[in-house]
C-alpha cells in the first residue's frame, strides 16, 4: 500500500521529467522564441534585484542548424579528441557559420 508521501514523491519526479522534456523540445525546435523569452526574464530579474539568478538564467544565443548539431548525419563533431598529440592542445573548436556566409539559392 502506497503512502501519500510516496505518491507525492513519484508525482514530483514525473513533473520534473516532463518539465525537462518540454525544455529539451523547446530548446531544439523553438530556440529563438525561447531565447527571447529567457532574455526578457533575465532583464526582469535584473530590474528587480536578482542579479545572481539572472546570471544563471542568461541564455546562450541560438545557433543556426547545420553540422555539429547532432543530427546524426555526419561525423562532424565539435568535441576535442583525446588523441591529439602532446605538442598541441585543443581549447575549443566550433563550427561557426555567420549568416553572411550563406548564399541562398533560387531558381533563375
Amino acid at each position: 500500500m502506497q503512502t501519500a508521501f510516496q505518491t507525492i514523491i513519484q508525482e514530483s519526479i514525473v513533473v520534473l521529467l516532463v518539465g525537462w522534456s518540454v525544455w529539451q523540445v523547446l530548446r531544439r525546435f523553438a530556440a529563438r522564441p525561447l531565447y527571447l523569452v529567457q532574455s526578457r526574464l533575465v532583464a526582469l530579474l535584473r530590474r528587480y534585484g536578482w542579479p545572481r539568478m539572472a546570471a544563471y538564467l542568461t541564455p546562450v544565443a541560438p545557433t543556426t542548424a547545420g553540422c555539429s548539431q547532432g543530427c546524426g548525419g555526419c561525423s562532424s563533431n565539435a568535441a576535442p579528441s583525446c588523441a591529439s598529440q602532446a605538442a598541441t592542445s585543443a581549447d575549443t573548436a566550433v563550427t561557426d557559420l555567420a549568416p553572411s556566409d550563406v548564399q541562398p539559392v533560387q531558381w533563375r
Binding site: S21, A78, A83
Partner: protein
C-alpha cells in the same frame, strides 16, 4: 621577401587554404585535436571552421579551416566563402595573419597553380606539402629547398594522418612569419582584389615542377589498373550495384545477434524495474514510456553501425567520386548532374549535411534541384522504422539460396528512394524547360586503403551521436508522449482503454479518418506527430502507445511481434511507403530554409513530399488490400 616586422600581440589567426581534398581538414583535426569530418573526395568541407592551437612555445593561434577552392575566382558558394575570408570580405571576420597553403604532394601540377594565385595577394604565406607518405610510395621526389627558393616561401612537409606528421609545421608556426611575403609582381595598388590577369600560372607551375620535382609517372599505376575495371561502362556499373547490394544484405545478416542481445537486455531491465518499483505513475513512466519507447530505438544501433561502416570505408577509399562519374549520364537525364551524387550520398546519412553539401554545386539550378530531392534519399533515421517493419512482416528466409529476403526488401526501399528522387528531378527539369548543358568536371582522388583507426573513430562517433540523440530529444519526446497518452485519466465508469480518453488518444482518433485510406490505425496517427521531430521517434512512440493501450498479454511482447499481431501486411507496406516520401524532419526543413533563403521553397518541398507520401501510401494500401493482404 619583405623586411621583418614585429610579431602581433593579439591572438594570431591562420587559415588553412588549398585545393579540395588536399588534407586541410585532416591537418586541422591534427592541429586542434578536433574530429571534423574528413573523407577521400573533394567537397567534404563546405563551411568555415574554427579551432585553437597552442604551440610548444605556449603561443596560442586561432586556426580557420576553409572549404577547398581551385581559384579565387569562386564558381560555387563554398569557394566564395574561401575567397571572402582570404580577401577580408567576410563580415565580422578579420583577414588571416598567415595563409597556410596546403597542397597534395602527389598532385602539385594542379595544386601549385592556386598557390601562385594566392601568393599574388601579398600576404604572409607558408606552403605545406601534405600527403608526403603517398608521394614517397609513388617515388615522387621534391627538392624542398629549391622549391622554397623558387617560390619565395617557406616550405614544410606533413603527413596529416600520422600523429608525428606535423612536427615540422608546428616548428615553423612558432617562428616569426610576418616576413613570409612575396611582393606582388603587378603594379596593382588595391591588394584586396585578386589579379585576374596574372601571367600564365599553368606555365609557371610547369616550369617549377620541371626544376624541383621528379615524378616516375604522371598518374598512379595502381589507380589506373583499378579504374580500368571500376570506371568501365559495364563492369563499373555492375561493381557499383554489387557493392550497394552487399551493404544492405550485411545490414540485416550481420546485426541480428547484437540486436537480440540488446532486446534481451532491455527486456531484463523492464522485468527488473516492474518487479522492484511500486505501482504508480512513476513506474508507468519508466516501464511504458522510457523503457518501451527508448529501448525500442536503441535496438537498431547495430544496423546503423553496419551501414555506416560501409559508408566510411567507401568514403575513405576514394571510390565515391568514381560512382558519381559512373552515374553522371543517368543523373543528367534526370535533370541532375554527377556533382549531385556526393550531396545525395551524404543524404543517406542525414539530409542536413546533404543539403549543405550542395554548396559545392556551381550551377544554381542543379543545386536547387538537388536540395529539393535530397530528403528522398533514405537517411539513417529511417533505418529503425524500416528495420522494425521488415523484421515484423518479412520472413527471414533465403531467396535463390543466397540472398536474405529482408535485405532484399531493404535494398528495394533504398532503390525506391533513389528512383523517386530521379523522377522528381526529371519532372522539375521538364517544368522549368531547362535545356542547358551541365558538363561534369570532377576530380578523382587516388585510392587509399581505409585507415582502421579513422573508421573505428568514425563508428564510435556515430554510435555516440545516435545514443546522445536517443538520450536527448528521443527520450524527451517519448516522455511527453507518455504524458499526453496517460492524462487526463479516464472518467468514472469508463469502459474503454485509458489511453482512449487521453489527449493523445483523442487526437489519434481525430486524425484516424484522414489516414484511414492509407490503413493507418489511430495508434500510428499518434506516433506520426512526434516523428516530425525525428523519424526514428515513431518506433519509440509506437512502443509507448502500445504499452499504454495493450492488455497484459500484449505487454509481455516486444514491439515487433506485437505489431505483427495487430497490423495487416497492407498497413505495414503502406507505412513503409509513407516513410520513403514523408519529410518528417524539422531539422532538414530548417536547413532548406537557410540554404534557399526562402520559406516558399520549404513550403513547396513539404507540400509535394507529403502529397507524394499520402498518394503512394494510399495506392500501396489499396493495391495490397485488393491482393488479399489486408
Amino acid at each position: 621577401m619583405n623586411p621583418s616586422s614585429t610579431q602581433p600581440s593579439h591572438t594570431a589567426q591562420i587559415a588553412l587554404i588549398g585545393n579540395p581534398n588536399c588534407g586541410k581538414t585532416s591537418l586541422f583535426n591534427r592541429l586542434t585535436g578536433t574530429r571534423q569530418k574528413v573523407a577521400n573526395y573533394a567537397g567534404v568541407t563546405v563551411e568555415r571552421k574554427e579551432g585553437r592551437l597552442q604551440l610548444p612555445s605556449g603561443r596560442s593561434l586561432k586556426i580557420l579551416d576553409l572549404p577547398g577552392a581551385y581559384s579565387l575566382q569562386a564558381t560555387s558558394p563554398d569557394e566564395a566563402i574561401t575567397r571572402a575570408v582570404c580577401l577580408g570580405e567576410l563580415a565580422g571576420e578579420a583577414r588571416p595573419d598567415l595563409l597556410v597553403c596546403v597542397v597534395d604532394a602527389t598532385n602539385l601540377r594542379l595544386h601549385l597553380r592556386f598557390v601562385l594565385e594566392l601568393r599574388a595577394l601579398g600576404r604572409p604565406m607558408l606552403l605545406v606539402l601534405n600527403m608526403m607518405d603517398d608521394a614517397a610510395r609513388r617515388g615522387i621526389q621534391i627538392d624542398q629547398d629549391l622549391l622554397s627558393k623558387k617560390i619565395g616561401l617557406p616550405v614544410v612537409t606533413t603527413i596529416a594522418t600520422q600523429a608525428n606528421g606535423v612536427q615540422g609545421l608546428l616548428q615553423q608556426l612558432d617562428l616569426d612569419w610576418q616576413n613570409w611575403i612575396v611582393a606582388p609582381e603587378t603594379s596593382k595598388t588595391d591588394q584586396s582584389q585578386p589579379d585576374l590577369h596574372q601571367p600564365d600560372l599553368h606555365q609557371q607551375v610547369r616550369e617549377l615542377l620541371a626544376e624541383t620535382v621528379s615524378m616516375p609517372a604522371l598518374t598512379d599505376q595502381r589507380d589506373d589498373r583499378l579504374d580500368r575495371i571500376l570506371l568501365h561502362p559495364v563492369w563499373g556499373l555492375l561493381c557499383l550495384a554489387l557493392i550497394m547490394f552487399m551493404i544492405f544484405q550485411a545490414v540485416f545478416a550481420g546485426a541480428a545477434p547484437l540486436m537480440d542481445g540488446i532486446e534481451t537486455l532491455f527486456a531484463g531491465i523492464s522485468d527488473l524495474v516492474s518487479a522492484q518499483m511500486p505501482d504508480g505513475v512513476l513506474k508507468s513512466l519508466v516501464v511504458d514510456g522510457i523503457i518501451a519507447g527508448v529501448g525500442g530505438v536503441v535496438v537498431f544501433l547495430p544496423q546503423i553501425l553496419i551501414l555506416f561502416l560501409f559508408i566510411l570505408l567507401l568514403e575513405e577509399s576514394g571510390y565515391l567520386p568514381r560512382a558519381a562519374f559512373l552515374l553522371d549520364r543517368l543523373m543528367f537525364k534526370s535533370g541532375l548532374s554527377g556533382r549531385s551524387f556526393i550531396p545525395l550520398l551524404s543524404s543517406f546519412a542525414c539530409a542536413v549535411p546533404g543539403v549543405m553539401a550542395t554548396r559545392s554545386i556551381q550551377d544554381p539550378r542543379d543545386r536547387l534541384a538537388t536540395i529539393m530531392v535530397a530528403p528522398l534519399m533514405t537517411c539513417s533515421a529511417r533505418l529503425p522504422v524500416y528495420a522494425l517493419l521488415i523484421g515484423a512482416f518479412i520472413p527471414a528466409q533465403t531467396v535463390a539460396g543466397l540472398f536474405n529476403l529482408q535485405g532484399l526488401v531493404l535494398f528495394g526501399l533504398y532503390v525506391a528512394g533513389v528512383a523517386s528522387a530521379l523522377a522528381v528531378s526529371w519532372l522539375m527539369k521538364k517544368i522549368h524547360r531547362d535545356r542547358t548543358e551541365h558538363a561534369l568536371l570532377l576530380e578523382l582522388p587516388s585510392y587509399r586503403v581505409p585507415s582502421w583507426r579513422s573508421v573505428s573513430l568514425g563508428l564510435y562517433e556515430r554510435a555516440s551521436i545516435f545514443l546522445k540523440r536517443v538520450g536527448g530529444i528521443i527520450l524527451a519526446l517519448t516522455i511527453l508522449l507518455w504524458f499526453l497518452a496517460s492524462f487526463p485519466a479516464p472518467p468514472d465508469g469508463a469502459t474503454g482503454a485509458a489511453i482512449d480518453y487521453s489527449f493523445a488518444g483523442q487526437l489519434g482518433h481525430l486524425m484516424a479518418p484522414i489516414f484511414a485510406p492509407l490503413g493507418f490505425s489511430w495508434q500510428i496517427c499518434i506516433a506520426l506527430i512526434p516523428a516530425m521531430a525525428a523519424r526514428e521517434v515513431v518506433v519509440a512512440a509506437l512502443g509507448t502507445v502500445y504499452a499504454l493501450s495493450g492488455n497484459d498479454d500484449l505487454l509481455s511482447q516486444q514491439l515487433s511481434p506485437l505489431i505483427a499481431d495487430q497490423w495487416s501486411l497492407a498497413t505495414a507496406l503502406s507505412l513503409l511507403v509513407w516513410f520513403v516520401f514523408a519529410p518528417q524532419c524539422i531539422a532538414t526543413l530548417a536547413t532548406v530554409r537557410r540554404e534557399t533563403g526562402s520559406w516558399r521553397q520549404v513550403s513547396i518541398m513539404t507540400a509535394y513530399l507529403f502529397g507524394l507520401a499520402y498518394l503512394m501510401a494510399m495506392l500501396t494500401y489499396q493495391a495490397a488490400v485488393a491482393l488479399g493482404w489486408g
